[in-house]
């Protein structure tokens, strides 16, 4: 029973660790990477949802149609998710590099230009 729900527990665990990392981080780059970790929790969740016992990859190049395969939709959703994650990371990290160049620091505690 535990094994049947383990991937979901792992997804929740990764999600919460990602959140913890963002909340307690002292470095903007670290925060961005924790955001990426949070995003990977959704991949684990999606793939676990689509899994079928005994199923193989949903590519029928060498297996006949009708073999048990896992759900292809979650994999398609995950591909989209990965592209979204990569692009958001690229943009965020560029912001961090630029902020460092202008303010000389990557510590969020020291970036206090917007307050109140």
């Amino acid at each position: 029973m535990i094994l049947a729900y383990l991937p979901y527990a792992i997804a929740a665990w990764i999600f919460l660790w990602g959140l913890y990392g963002i909340v307690t981080s002292k470095n903007l780059v670290h925060q961005v990477v924790c955001l990426a970790i949070l995003q990977t929790s959704t991949y684990v969740l999606l793939l676990a949802i689509g899994y079928k016992v005994g199923g193989t990859a949903p590519v029928f190049a060498d297996i006949p149609v009708g073999t048990v395969v896992v759900d292809p939709l979650v994999q398609a959703l995950m591909l989209t998710d990965i592209v979204v994650e990569a692009t958001v990371m690229a943009l965020l990290l560029s912001m961090v590099v630029k902020a460092n160049e202008l303010a000389g620091t990557v510590d969020p505690e020291e970036l206090r230009f917007l307050m109140g």
């Binding site: 997804a11 999600f15 959140l19 963002i22 909340v23 307690t24 981080s25 903007l28 925060q31 961005v32 955001l35 949070l38 995003q39 929790s41 959704t42 969740l45 999606l46 949802i49 939709l73 979650v74 959703l77 989209t80 998710d81 979204v84 692009t87 958001v88 943009l91 965020l92 912001m95 961090v96 630029k98 902020a99 202008l102 303010a103 969020p108 505690e109 970036l111 206090r112 230009f113 917007l114 307050m115 109140g116």
Partner: protein
Amino acid sequence: MITSIIPLPIAIPLMVAAFISLAGNWIGRRACDLLASATAAVNVWITCSILHGVWSQPQVYWFGNWWPRAGGVVLGICFVIDTFAGMLAVLVCVLTLAGLIFSWKIFEDTENHFQPLMLIFMAAMCGFSYTGDLFNLFVFFELMSVSAFALCGLKTLEPAPLQGAFNFAIVNTVGAFMIVGGIGLLYARTGALNFAQVGRSLGTHADALVLLAFLLIAVGYMVKAAIVPFHFWLADAHAVAPSPVCVLFSGVMVELGIYAVARIYWTIFAGALGVHTHGLQSIFTSMAAITAVIGALMCFAEHHLKRLLAFSTIAHSGLMLAGVGLLTPGALAGFLIYVLSHGVIKGGLFLCAGIVLHRFQRIGEDHLHGCGRGMWFTAALFILGAWGLAGAPPFGTLFGEDLISHGAKGTHYSWLIFIFLFAEVLTSAAVLRITFRIFFGWGEPAPSDKSSRIEERAETEQSHERVPAVMFIPAAALIVLGITITAFPQIRSAVKDGAHQFTSQSAYASAVLENVQITLVRSSEHEEVSSSIIRSVIALLLSFLLALGTVFREQFGRALNFTRSLELGNAKLRRAHSGHPGDYVAWLSFGTAVVGGSLFLLLH
């Protein structure tokens, strides 16, 4: 035949954006501006034609011709365009057009990356309004967000814009991935991504999984909608984003978050969560009330023009959530009318703030005291905007607020009316206060505080003596558009009929899955606005009095000291808006836990 033009509001701006990005340096800045504005104008025309086509009959459009299979299994993606979606798309395109025209005079050095990003932003928001598929909604949400992050961090000569864009990006991305989690859970239960199919499969019973999915998706969209406690990013983003971009943020992006919550509730969860309506009403209306109050208090305590307007957006967002959260067709109609009028008025106010910045190179109320003397037209626009924010006739916000109050009156939530009054008075008074100080030079200069120190580098190179027409006309046009809802009662009755359709889950599902035409329920209530007119005039008077009292406080001695404490704001509340992304995410987790806890209490 409108079917063939439905994908165009998304496809055309995307193609033109790619073209401008490629050829921008060769065709020159002017040509890019003209091309982008022309595309936005064409989009306004196309979305209006689509709206005209769906005025009496919602349309369903299947991409790739992937019609649903037997048994109601949907393999493709569809657009489901009803009156609500159609009107929101028109609002999006109108605001983008105004912003693009305004930007002709500014941004000397963006290497033609600004116009493609604005076009992509517009296409994403149109797609977001039209779609009928869960994951497609998420994809357009992300497209909207990524363009917004990029546009927000546009001014790269100081660190503040980058901090604002960074906070914006972190908080919104956490929200976005909660949405994906919720979509995954719904998929696990129903094996579908189409709104209608998921709604049908969920049936009428809600267990913990359905509640968790609702929690994740609703919270994710409420982050975008800047509902307290997910709202901290909004003020930071608005303080640093260029004015045309703020128009889009406050005018329609935030409202689309609330629209998404409404759409998802009524197409997917209405059946399953129907028995818990009372509980859901209390949760949403409490969040709405807290948002309105905190937004209004912080609004009056701000002295940076754009942050002030941003907090007023948060307050009004609370009002709009109340419209949705009352879970009745009448209040929902009020929500859309409020969105349409508030969007253009707020957009106009942000453009006016942009005019002030262009003219004086400063944006803090204390620095600008008396500088605007002689700028009568801009002052008039600010005053008209404040009028609209107070919900007074002839602006359309009156009707929106009236319908929502009407919906609240019969239920336990009649206290909402006082919350609305409070929020409207404070936000309107704040705008009036800055008008009196900046454009008339009355009273003493505002108390200076940290937020007005945020250096706003000019969006143009030199300050100018006159306000260019290309900046003034879009601002004036937007504020005047706030009157159209009042001027055309057909719009209001179409919205009310549309709201009845919106809230009918079975009709939606049959239209999408079985191609059954929806018969329109013509709502027969006539408008009873006299009590609202009285209330709104009182609100307007109170806001004038409050603004005058704040500005001339010295003359009245101790009696008006409360205005000073209102203006300085609650210190703890201000400290909470600390600019630290870790704080914001901590509040987000707290809010999720509280809303989740309340939802789970509902089940028992």
